[in-house]
């Protein structure tokens, strides 16, 4: 059995080596690709939305094929750099270093297209009566400087921190916007997805977590105050699109160079009222200017 596993691994390594070799010339060879196929790769947050957009797009434009794969924002951007995808989806803005790599490898600048809005909700256990939290309190909780629920208006009890894996767009966004790029308390447990966080908090009365605005049983989303004086705002369609909810983010699609042909067609569709309605159906929020 061990030997079979080793052989399998060897096969995987060989495959990996092959795909690497193929990636090198892809930057130049992509013009040869059929103009009727479009590949989208990237953020797991955006897979659902991209998939729905792709289905509707293919339905409207028979003969065109759109392939959607996930893997994460970083994976999608890496694929854009290597030229193996036309559109990279990302739940965080591209880093400067990544933009430079796109410019270097593809000889065109990375172009950003915001396609939808997403709010990050703060969850606690349903039995936790804490009325609201300020951004600063959330930050200090995740830094490990506030350790007990009684310090923020809750019942006495040590706070258990739930975070996301450090490769997720949600993690990067939270770290940047809420944490001011400070480090998380090492005791923060990292879980692999919003549903894992929701599930963990539903089982932990002292837990706190963050993730996409989701509805699960056993948890409560806590209204957030921008600062001590501001009003507490609960995340909803209205508060995210009008910008009053303090923790909301844009979701992006990136292309190398200004989009042309099928890529431009697809992006146009994503931003059309029909595409934005699909974004809403997938659990996100339409961008303000194009909101119906």
């Amino acid at each position: 059995m061990r030997r079979t596993a080793t052989l399998l691994l060897a096969a995987l390594v060989a495959l990996g080596a092959c795909s690497r070799d193929r990636q090198q010339p892809a930057g130049q060879g992509e013009t040869n690709r059929r103009a009727s196929t479009l590949t989208i790769k990237g953020s797991d947050t955006l897979v659902m939305l991209a998939q729905r957009l792709a289905e509707a797009f293919m339905h409207k434009n028979p003969g065109l094929t759109v392939q959607v794969t996930g893997g994460g924002s970083g994976t999608g951007i890496a694929a854009l750099i290597n030229g193996t995808t036309e559109i990279a989806t990302a739940s965080r803005p591209m880093k400067e270093s990544e933009k430079a790599q796109v410019q270097a490898r593809r000889e065109r600048p990375a172009v950003e297209h915001a396609v939808a809005l997403d709010g990050i909700a703060i969850y606690v256990h349903e039995s936790n009566p804490v009325p609201h939290l300020t951004l600063d309190q959330i930050k200090r909780i995740y830094e490990g400087r506030i350790k007990d629920w009684s310090e923020v208006g809750g019942p006495a009890g040590r706070i258990t921190l739930y975070s996301r894996e450090n490769n997720s767009g949600t993690y990067a966004y939270f770290k940047e916007e809420v944490m001011d790029d400070e480090d998380f308390d090492p005791r923060a447990q990292t879980l692999p997805g919003t549903s894992a966080v929701v599930n963990a908090i539903a089982k932990d009365p002292r837990g706190i977590g963050f993730g996409g605005i989701a509805f699960g049983s056993g948890i409560r989303t806590v209204p957030v105050k921008k600062d001590e004086q501001a009003e507490a705002v609960a995340p909803s369609l209205e508060t995210v699109t009008n910008g009053t909810y303090p923790i909301s983010r844009k979701l992006f699609m990136y292309t190398a160079g200004e989009p042309t042909g099928i890529v431009a067609q697809f992006l146009e569709f994503a931003l059309s009222p029909e595409g934005q309605a699909l974004a809403e159906k997938a659990g996100y929020y339409p961008l303000r200017p194009t909101a119906p």
């Binding site: 080793t6 052989l7 994460g72 894996e165 450090n166 790029d181 005791r187 447990q189 990292t190 089982k203």
Partner: protein, 336 residues
């Protein structure tokens, strides 16, 4: 192939026939040699695969020594020793690879890996070794024929399913009983891991116990020892190097196991031996972070360094275990 010429071989030994049989012999030797080469080549595929994997890992990990872009973020020294990450604070170890100042300290991950593996052993060793003693020495044949395949069946449970069970059911039970602050912690993950290494330790221990020559048993019975006494005081000590090898192998397996710890350990890189805290292990780190890193970047390189380290440790433990098995064989061969 040779059948067509077979009748020739039966003709009388004229000089011509002799020389033709000579040629045949040479041909046959050549075929033999070729076949041996082919078989050897096939047999060494597995070894070649391991070697290739190692080469591949090393190639990706090497920039830790050579690349200046990697050195801007991390060096091997920074991974090994506590750093003064915040000015004015004493140096400490931290694993925060996505950060303004990326922190890649190895120690929290290594401590986590060993912590979980040791807990897994504490749980699995008594169960599997005592189980093996019972099955091989005390149980009636019928029971033995049931227990052995049943335990081996445990090895067939996909680790992701075990992880799922630990995450959803066991973690809550354990927290309810012991009242831990953290539902997912090293103890819970260690128990899950223990379940995966029980079949390994059980099977190998059982083999080691069965391999003890019957003369030992007969001698003990002749001296009037009971079955239990024989098993405990004669067979178990005689088989102990083999059992030790099984435990070492199980330890190696526990260190490398990924899915269960990824799901049930809480994955927090805390530098502490406290078993009630969440824990982040080396394999879980690789699995969780590999999918998103910039290809060829510092983080990528560091993950491959972790891979080399893990493979090295596992090979070392497997080698240690193999060496002990050989020692056991030599010992029993010499005294039997």
């Amino acid at each position: 192939m040779e059948t067509g010429r077979a009748p020739v071989a039966r003709t009388e030994a004229t000089p011509a026939a002799l020389s033709s049989s000579d040629a045949r012999l040479r041909r046959r030797k050549a075929v033999d040699k070729a076949a041996r080469w082919v078989i050897a080549a096939i047999a060494s595929t597995a070894i070649a695969a391991v070697a290739l994997i190692f080469v591949f890992l090393l190639r990706e990990a090497l920039p830790i020594f050579t690349s200046s872009t990697v050195h801007e973020e991390v060096t091997l020294g920074k991974m090994l020793f506590a750093q003064e990450w915040r000015t004015g604070e004493p140096p400490y170890h931290a694993w925060q690879p996505v950060s303004k100042v990326p922190k890649y300290s190895l120690l929290p991950l290594l401590v986590g890996t060993f912590k979980v593996a040791i807990i897994a052993l504490l749980f699995a060793v008594p169960v599997s070794v005592l189980g093996a003693v019972f099955t091989s020495e005390l149980a009636p044949r019928r029971v033995r024929e049931f227990i052995k395949p049943a335990v081996e069946l445990l090895a067939g449970i996909p680790s992701v399913v075990l992880g799922f069970f630990v995450l959803m059911v066991l973690a809550t039970q354990v927290q309810d009983i012991f009242g831990f602050q953290y539902r997912l912690n090293a103890i819970v993950a260690g128990i899950g891991l223990g379940l995966t290494i029980i079949p390994v330790i059980f099977t190998l221990s059982e083999d080691a116990l069965t391999a003890v020559p019957p003369s030992y048993r007969e001698a003990a019975f002749a001296l009037g020892a009971s079955r239990t006494r024989t098993a405990w005081s004669v067979i178990l000590p005689a088989a102990s190097p083999g059992i030790f090898a099984a435990i070492v192998l199980g330890f190696g397996r526990a260190m490398g196991e990924t899915m269960i710890v990824l799901m049930a350990s809480g994955n927090a890189a805390i530098l502490s031996w406290d078993p009630t805290l969440p824990v982040r292990t080396v394999p879980a780190t690789i699995a969780a972070e590999m999918g998103e890193v910039v290809v060829g970047g510092p983080h990528w390189t560091v993950l491959f360094v972790l891979g080399v380290l893990l493979l090295g440790l596992t090979i070392a433990f497997n080698g240690l275990s193999g060496w002990y098995v050989r020692r056991l064989r030599a010992k029993l061969g010499g005294s039997a």
